[in-house]
Symmetry: C2
Subunit: 221 residues, 2 copies
């Protein structure tokens, strides 16, 4: 039984990789850079996207929203002048806890790739499985909010290791928390030395200009 | 291919139910009440356990800690006079994002059931899959922190629906957030009408006496 289970799991991973490469080819053909944005639930992915997409200058951005159910996040972005596509993972049993390459592939026909040069994929809020499934992205970024505690890089090492940028959100709350930023950075350094970080508050706007610039700069890459 | 995948998933769920019932029988035979404690990463499960287990009166409590990797949470509880058993989900591919009945079953020999009357299972921090896998528990409780936003019951309905108690943590931060508690409660009511709630702050201690009493009262049930 165990061997059968493992074999199925490996097969699923291989299929994911195959489909991710097809996605990658489609994105390349359209000249679209793709970032896979991940975090725990409530870390601020959507609020940060709102901040960034208020003014995208001459960069044409699209968003692919992954949620277990509903379109709350897509609705929040609907007042911005960017095309937003929703994927729900709910039809799978119980609601999948992550996006995989095939879910993204199924959504590609709904994404106006010819009209954009940067696609932001907002993954399901989860620090485990999203890190395990590449979807054809160029960059993997995550958001970690200071309310989650300093230990998260050690408890979810694959997520923190797989990302090239860790955005540290909700720094406006630091005076009201016991969070030790130096300890968080030391824990992060243990699993992903020299990873790029940004510190900001999506709520107050502190640091969000640098975030917008960093996100839009992906389009040039 | 799709049909094969679905069939395997259903088989896995059935096996989980079968094993959960075996766990349930073992817990019943030992006279142990079991609560499955779930939340997003960083919502405060371990801190709330520390608060509750500082003084358990004459109730004999044990803890089963589920983590992807490491024993940070178990270490945090080690100064308390309760037996703590650690399960790591890491050996499975990539690190499982939840506890299932078989993982709990594999840990039961390490849990001193004869010495306790209440077992708290701290699940992996995740709002999706833990809700899908019963492990033989009597009660399912979750912790939702106000820093996560009001929309979480609508985005993760299965988790909020499956629990009999929702603990609303970090209320000390309310003055510093845009969180609308009434809207959160209305969203919660949509998915789980009349669910029991507790409001508290694990950090300041506000409301944690009621939390401790509620937790320990399970042992009498």
């Amino acid at each position: 039984m165990h061997q059968t289970t493992v074999r199925v799991a490996e097969g699923a991973l291989d299929a994911n990789q195959t489909i991710a490469e097809s996605n990658r080819a489609d994105f390349d053909a359209a000249g679209v850079t793709v970032v896979n944005l991940m975090s725990a639930p409530g870390a601020g992915k959507t609020t940060l996207l709102e901040r960034a997409l208020e003014d995208t200058g001459d960069v044409r951005v699209g968003v692919l929203e992954g949620d277990v159910r509903g379109s709350l996040d897509a609705d929040r972005l609907s007042h911005l002048h960017v095309p937003v596509t929703q994927i729900n993972t709910d039809p799978a049993f119980g609601g999948e806890c992550h996006l995989d390459a095939n879910m993204v592939r199924s959504a590609i026909p709904e994404v106006p790739l010819e009209e954009i040069e940067l696609l932001v994929i907002e993954n399901v809020g989860n620090l485990v499985c999203p890190a395990e499934f590449r979807v054809g992205e160029d960059a993997r970024w995550m958001i970690s909010s200071v309310t989650e505690g300093e230990d998260k890089p050690l408890k979810y090492p694959l997520m923190f290791r797989t990302c090239e940028l860790v955005v540290i959100n909700k720094v406006d709350l630091l005076p009201h928390l016991d969070f030790d930023l130096d300890r968080f950075l030391a824990n992060l350094d243990q699993v992903n030395p020299d990873v790029e970080t940004l510190r900001l508050s999506a709520r107050t706007g502190e640091g969000t200009d640098a975030w917008r610039e960093r996100l839009l700069s992906l389009a040039a890459g």
